[in-house]
Symmetry: D2
Subunit: 414 residues, 4 copies
């Protein structure tokens, strides 16, 4: 243990209750935690993590601890860190470096502190920790057996590193597991973004024009749930197949310049930068509400908003109102950071049970098998095992192929 740096260790009791609540809804993580409890396969492993430090993540970290690992944790976003959960994690023996509202400077300092554990394994969310390892902490590279990355955004960065020839160790693309992106990115994001939006604004969804930028797995989850709550959804996309899928799903599709004057609410989920910017702010309606659910806070240009505003006012919690020169107000949620994590509790627990079970089994895999440098898919047997256990805990039966059917699928003759 290398120490910790958190807001207030005295909040542990509240954090422990949150963790206990979450754990009830994580039967898959519990299952694998118990399966490996006796053998303690992580004994001797040091694991550095950069994750959203709230209750569900804590269940993963606690499980890593119980299976024998030393674990350090930095928060992957200043606003998603929950201070009471951090306090509970410290009590559970995790070296935590984060507090809600930390500055960008402190954020990177904390990343560094978490790396001081000299990890064998890194578990990252957005790839900032892995980027730092390659940019400033190359001394640690030799110890590393492998890593795992949680997000689409992180995978995109790692792929860029791989193409460039920079990526120095093996990383499992947890995001790309079927058990992850099919559920977490879609149904998880779908529910949690609507939750964050509703609780933060108390605004009616039905009858609103909601502009969803990006129709990847996250975007379609949000579009699906927004429409389901009665909104008319406008999708902004760069990819023609995705755009036409949005049309087939009953949404309108147009460019952001066309959508800007129509939208009541804007949600960005592209993984890109400057998706909503000056030229769009200029033509928005008075009262437009903007939220981001992409990994980084660059999708909605806050610099542009600040340049345009003659006044910025806090109103409800997690809402900043930018008053334009012509009097129009534009409301930005959660400083443009992940609205589902910064202004709500992140994904539903049961969804993270799958994602974090993939993380757990990936960590076990890396502990046993040092990876070649580069991006690796989650081993298919892990991917399948996680969702099979999930179905089992729900009492759901799969159909089984008969021998005749197996043979039929492998023959081509009429």
């Amino acid at each position: 243990m290398t120490g910790y740096s958190i807001a207030d260790p005295g909040l542990a009791e509240s954090g422990m209750k949150k963790i206990e609540w979450a754990l009830q809804f994580m039967p898959v993580l519990q299952h694998f935690g118990e399966e490996y409890l006796e053998s303690r396969p992580l004994q001797g492993m040091r694991i550095a993590t950069c994750l959203h430090l709230e209750a569900k993540t804590a269940c993963l970290l606690a499980t890593l601890r119980r299976l024998g690992a030393e674990v350090s944790a930095a928060g992957s976003n200043p606003l998603s860190t929950q201070d009471d959960v951090c306090a509970a994690l410290v009590r559970l023996g995790v070296d935590v470096f984060s507090h809600r509202g930390m500055s960008d400077e402190k954020y990177f300092e904390n990343l560094g502190s978490a790396l001081d554990i000299r990890p064998h394994i890194v578990i990252d969310d957005g790839a900032d920790m892995i980027a730092m390892l390659h940019a400033k902490r190359r001394d640690l590279l030799d110890d590393i057996k492998g890593g795992a990355e949680e997000t689409t955004t992180g995978i995109t960065r790692l792929r860029a590193m791989e193409v460039e020839g920079t990526l120095a160790f093996g990383v499992i693309a947890v995001n790309d597991a079927s058990s992850k992106y099919l559920f977490d990115n879609r149904y998880g994001t779908g529910q949690s973004v609507m939750d964050g939006l509703m609780r933060t604004t108390n605004a009616l969804i039905a009858g609103k024009n909601i502009v969803v930028a990006g129709y990847g797995w996250c975007g379609r989850g949000v579009a699906m749930r927004a429409a389901a709550m009665g909104a008319r959804v406008i999708v902004v996309e760069v990819d023609p197949h995705r755009a036409f899928e949005a049309v087939m799903d009953g949404h309108s599709v147009m460019s952001m310049m066309e959508a800007a004057p129509l939208g009541d609410i804007f949600l960005t989920l592209t993984g890109n930068t400057g998706v909503i910017r000056k030229e769009h702010f200029d033509i928005m309606k008075d009262g437009a509400i903007l939220g981001n659910a992409g990994h980084f806070d660059v999708e909605i240009s806050r610099p542009d908003l600040e340049n345009l505003a003659v006044e910025v006012r806090g109103m409800r919690r997690n809402i900043a109102t930018y008053v334009m020169e012509d009097g129009r107000k534009i409301h930005l949620l959660a400083e443009g950071r992940l609205v589902n994590l910064a202004a709500a509790d992140g994904h539903p627990i049961e969804i993270m049970d799958l994602s974090f079970s993939i993380q757990l089994l990936s960590a076990l895999h890396v502990a046993k098998n040092r990876l070649e440098a580069g991006l690796h898919p989650v081993p298919p047997e892990i991917d399948r095992a996680v969702v099979e256990v999930k179905l089992k805990t729900m009492g759901i039966s799969l159909e089984r192929l008969t021998e005749v059917q197996k043979a039929y699928m492998n023959s081509w003759r009429e």
Copy 2:
């Protein structure tokens, strides 16, 4: 002004911001507030109100003030009262008697204090204030020109009083206006209950069995949105037509005894008592979550839960966990009180804009026209005006009948 009794007048600043936020999304109330601003038609009127004291209600009360009335306010539910909003209301000149978490005893004392204003008009939510007037404060009856009632539950009680011959003054059934029940009860409740459920539990909705007791306007709103979020909905109903509507809407329908062992989440919206009780708790799954969205906290039998439990534990905010003798845990949200008000911010703002505009215009109507004793419908011109203004603020055009069409609708000859 007769005084006030609130938690902390120092919270007014926060309450003022909440009110300002809400007012932006209430263009209809703003419209009528301005239309009548100069004439101050409530000058000299004393209005006692019993309502959920949060920001949207505050916009109604502030408007009544601005149009000339003296206004007192009691909270209609101990857990729906927001203390900062109460403080702001006091600053705006309303006599407020309520604080979050008040005891039942204090609740009735506050009702009495609000009545001390000696009202000409009462605006009630659930009919507790009107019931008290008839039971204990008959001295005040002579002054009363009329009242207005907001809820289905209140109307049911008032109708029982009317049948019994007890109801001593006229009450406008605001709940039964098309501009109210078609929207507030359905889309309002639909969104706000899902909001309360999600933010309180962080549980996944998709794939859950959600039991909805009652398929009236509130129940169908909740069932619609729960299904839209991916749940499988089981409806419990006593009325056969409503039951078959639920079937046609794609839900399962069964008795509560059949539903009890299947449900993951139970939501009650019946207006009745003991809808979920001992015999049902006995056969529920471990981990069942219970929430009420009916007006009173009698739909889920808390006494039965307390009798059965060997332990009661607080976990997340607004969740009490009852541990049964056999170890099963049953989680009760918000003490069985309105989960959308006690554990969230109540209905979306735009919905209450309609309901409270009906309230405002009904109060103006009563101020001019003392009502005969009994229940009265909202005057149709008021009902129509409110939604017409709403459509206008949204820039929506109605189709207009041509003269030919008007004639056609009144003729029967081929």
Copy 3:
């Protein structure tokens, strides 16, 4: 038996099979047919009917016969008559006067022939038979114990007659029974109009702009199912509450002049005349498709279309293409007659099982109780019995109120 006039008695075998098929899905009608089989309560009654003569209607007519009545039948729409079903009905002893594609002149002649039975009871669909009785066959009025009307359109006409003081006998408003309009008008129309539209055009629904004129029970059924198939729905309404319900249901709302240039498909369900007319045709897109699902073929102005067209061509079955002077093509389905009946098989069988069971029990009621002149609601015990039997045949249990709950609903004291 007074005779018959149909296309071809030789088609009876095919009609009998259709009737047998339908009867399987009509357990409620079967139930009441058997309950009253022995007592033959219609013995001696003469019943004249004007209905859509297809298989489900035939099940009603056959049941009336089996319970002892003499029955005559005219088709209520030239295009909804199925000739093979007519032949089967003749074999079952019903006096049938109709054939598919009959002229307007023949239509009225057939109505007259059906009336020649000198009915005690008339069962009407659209009120043409009742109108004829009052206009030209007043000699028959004395025999009539009462009637029943199936549609919203018919009720509107009868109400106009009642207001005018013309209505000479009692008519049960079958349309207004909960067991009828809540299901037949909404879910029945919803499915059957989409069926008719899809099978006639083979056009894709997803991604289309579908304009629905009228948001009554029929219109909302169609809008609901169109959206469910992936369309973007535009609602045109004259009533503000209905318009705002459409907004809350996620649809766009505008006037027909605004909708005309946007729509790919137009569906009318208003009960009014000239809903789509010259000024709208002038600005429609090339390729627009028009279908009517209101009772009469006046909602889409065919005279206007014919005036505007330089050519009219038949393409697929039930489609007439009007070529405008500027080359634009406008496609009219089923000559502007009920698209679900003229271009498909009408409502789903199970829906008509409810509606026709109401018709059967209403006829039994009239046979026993001559009605006062005027419109009468369906007796509530009939309305309830029908849907209760339906639920029973589906194995669905209603919740039952406890004594405590009954008492609670009747008390107002806290």
Copy 4:
């Protein structure tokens, strides 16, 4: 031209109208047909096709002709062949060998006749033609520059051939193009299967238990639309990720043995054999309806049904009723052949516009570039071009990445 063998050349007029109707809704095929009209890039090419011979397919075949090819056509399914369209195709110069209801023997004879054209290119749907080429007409292999396969089923067979080392020429997997499977398999199948089911049975969808076997792209399209029409959907799957997606989409999931006694309607879309068989028929409800939408008529075991039945009766068109020994009736639609093609008009026109544009451009590609033996993906530029043209014809704008955004997507540094 080698001749033709069709039901009745006299039906050409009706077929021509159907083709004209379809062509209006195929702007993408029209676009490419015109783009290449002058250069006639298929001049000298002989193309043998095995496809569903209805109007949309005819538009593809006519376009191939117009671009210079000689074209022969066999029907890919005895019940999907429309005789009037065949007659029209002959008039348009295509060598057609098919008639509705042909025997299995004749089906294969027709395949052989179509091959007699000695094709340079084969376009197949289900891979029967390609299989015949490898099994019995190896003399033709030398001439073949390449082929294209339309279906999931066909791809599965071709992949088995490839694994086995048998596949003797290159085949483009048209099915696997994004422009195809994302739309045709999902939204196309979703709509057309519901259309076929509704028009064939006139049964109500709302409130029914519909069992969907297979949750691939086709199955999820059908499940989505069935639920949208008010059904409760039960999914039967062998793959755990797909099964859990079905759960998240709000469906129930179970094995076929569990589903068999619950289902009112069963739809198979698995690509496998014997999906519903004796052990399931034995426990089905009286009145169960069975339809197949997988490529071959082997998914519902007709031999088992015939063994079990004491009587088989035709009722409505395209329905065979099997009466079990215990009196239960089981209704099989369209002889267990593709219910959307054999009992309706196949996919919506606009969907096939995309799929057949891919076919057209793939044929052009093969004509210019003889393929290596093996399965080939559709060239990405073709896949993209097709959907881009589609969006353009709809007037839909894509968002365009800025230079800053392109750079951002390629960098990994914070």
